[in-house]
């Protein structure tokens, strides 16, 4: 039995299809990442899996329980840490956990012990009697995560766990996530738009864009499939169709994607490809502004599947929408 399983999951709001025929499965004990820009359908999928939204069609199972037909059993088996902090600011850290324990029907005589343990784990024991309003962003997030695992769910959902946190705090949160994963051996399903986060934490990653899953694999495999090297070229603005088609003819080039005036080449033998690129550019009289050779990152994988770089703002989403709008206008 899979920990999470979806079959052709679809959710539409009026004309907008937020989640489009999504099928995937997550093994027991796995850390599975959902990677995509804002508006890709990550949160909608997570809301369906946590019983907050009903799918338009398709099926989703958590630990074998159907999110529609057995919502109560699903809720007993999951922990859900939302993107924004949901702790009550005027209650203390401990009171917040007490509330969470009661909401999840933890037996009365176990409550205090569980809270002590979890406060120890997330290193908030010394601040437990302070009102949450005095906590920093990172501390609130830790408290949120603590609340999600207090009842030892079999599946823990983390919706963008480090969004809006600084880099040090983000790394700290990753450590906590790894720590709770080793301690409780639960399945973790997390959504993120940080490549580094997916790369760092996840056993497998699903790239989702425009409501559709583009690929599911381990970060390692994804990067290897890209070829050994990535060549980024920035060229002058203008039409580069012939330039692109010439480059495609170079034997070692596996894949090309274009992001504005930036061309990204995935190649198996980059050091030999670069001189050939210069030959082509001088032949076609195209000015190369810069060129670089790097090892592939998950970022590159992402670009190769979605055609644009992931960003903190939602420009990725807007570009798609603008594109669709223009298509409609042309038709």
């Amino acid at each position: 039995m899979y920990s999470i399983e979806t079959k052709s999951l679809t959710k539409s709001f009026g004309n907008i299809i937020a989640v489009n025929d999504v099928s995937f499965s997550v093994e027991e004990g796995e850390i599975f990442g959902f990677l995509g820009p804002n508006g890709a359908g990550k949160s909608t999928t997570m809301m369906i899996l946590t019983t907050l939204l009903k799918p338009t069609s398709g099926q989703a199972l958590i630990s074998g329980f159907d999110v529609m037909k057995n919502a109560k059993q699903v809720r007993e088996n999951i922990g859900y840490v939302q993107q924004e902090s949901t702790v009550d600011e005027y209650l203390t850290g401990r009171e917040n956990l007490l509330l969470q324990a009661k909401l999840n029907h933890i037996p009365k005589k176990e409550i205090n012990k569980r809270i002590d343990d979890v406060l120890e784990l997330i290193e908030l024991a010394d601040k437990q009697d302070h009102a949450v309003v005095t906590y920093s962003g990172g501390m609130r997030k830790r408290l949120d995560i603590a609340g999600g695992l207090l009842h030892r769910p079999r599946v823990l959902f983390l919706d963008e766990p480090t969004v809006g946190l600084d880099i040090q705090t983000r790394r700290k949160i990753w450590e906590y996530i790894k720590k709770i994963h080793t301690e409780f051996e639960m399945t973790i399903f997390l959504s993120t738009h940080y490549m580094e986060e997916a790369d760092n934490l996840c056993d497998r990653v699903g790239i989702i864009d425009g409501g559709k899953i583009q690929i599911i694999d381990s970060p390692e495999n994804m990067k290897n499939a890209m070829g050994n090297e990535v060549i980024s070229i920035v060229v002058d603005e203008g039409e580069h169709t012939s330039f692109l088609s010439e480059i495609e003819k170079i034997g070692f080039v596996k894949k090309i994607s274009k992001d504005g005036s930036k061309l990204i080449l995935f190649a198996s033998n980059g050091t030999e490809v670069i001189p050939q690129i210069f030959q082509i550019s001088s032949k076609l009289d195209i000015k190369i502004i810069s060129i670089s050779l790097t090892q592939p990152t998950l970022d590159d994988v992402f670009i190769s599947y979605t055609g644009y770089e992931i960003r903190d703002d939602d420009s990725g989403f807007n570009r798609k929408r603008e594109h669709a709008k223009m298509k409609r206008l042309r038709a």
Binding site: F13, I78, E84, T86, D88, L91, L99, K102, L103
Partner: protein, 261 residues
Amino acid sequence: MSTLMYDTYTIFWRELKRYKKSRSGVLIRLIQPAIWIIVIGNTFSGTQPLIQSVGFEGEYIEFMTPGVIILTAIFTSIFGGVNTLWDRRYGFMNKALTSPISRSSIALGKMSAISLIAAMQASLILGIALAIGVSFPNPIMIVPIMTIVILFSLGFSGISVMVAATAKSQETFWGVINFLGMPLFMLSPALFPLELLPEWLAVIAKLNPVTYTVLLVREMMTGVSEGGIPVLLSLGILVGFVLVMVALASYVFTREVNKPF
């Protein structure tokens, strides 16, 4: 059943904790009803002959004090559901909805907390009334009076929770609540005897649960019954109103929170 009660208590506990930590609002919310008692109570003191015509011997201010107690209960409880909107906006609602507790226990927990808070506010108003010289012949009557205020507020908090769960925005909520609150208060014998209302207004007033609550509290505070409505009938109507509101609010709340916000 016992799970429902445990879950209702969990939400009730949380709401009261939050209320306790935001005490600054308590005094502000008392200002308006205090003004009603002090200003209207004294301004209209000349209307004593009108009240006497329906068999009420005391001062006007004593006649209207039960009305202002109910005014406090109406507004505290009908405004009380607004944090449902905040809970939906800031994720607490989703946290509760993804836990194994039932949807109705969330509504019931909120309603019971609101009605207790409303009763506390109402008892403070009663305190102010006593302080400015309103007499209270039988102090033991405070127990049934407060029971009635709690019951009544439970029913009204149901209206508030329903409107809050249905409204998608603060603006809608306040629009609907203000549209409901004042007319329900005015179309009752809170400020003037039922007998003095024109025929058609009296008919409307008799459909209003506020009317029966005011009559009950007034009878308990002053010993004067008016309008020829027996206590048991008023009590029956009040209890019926509360039961209907509790059932309706749980139903509407459950239906609405299952929709995306």
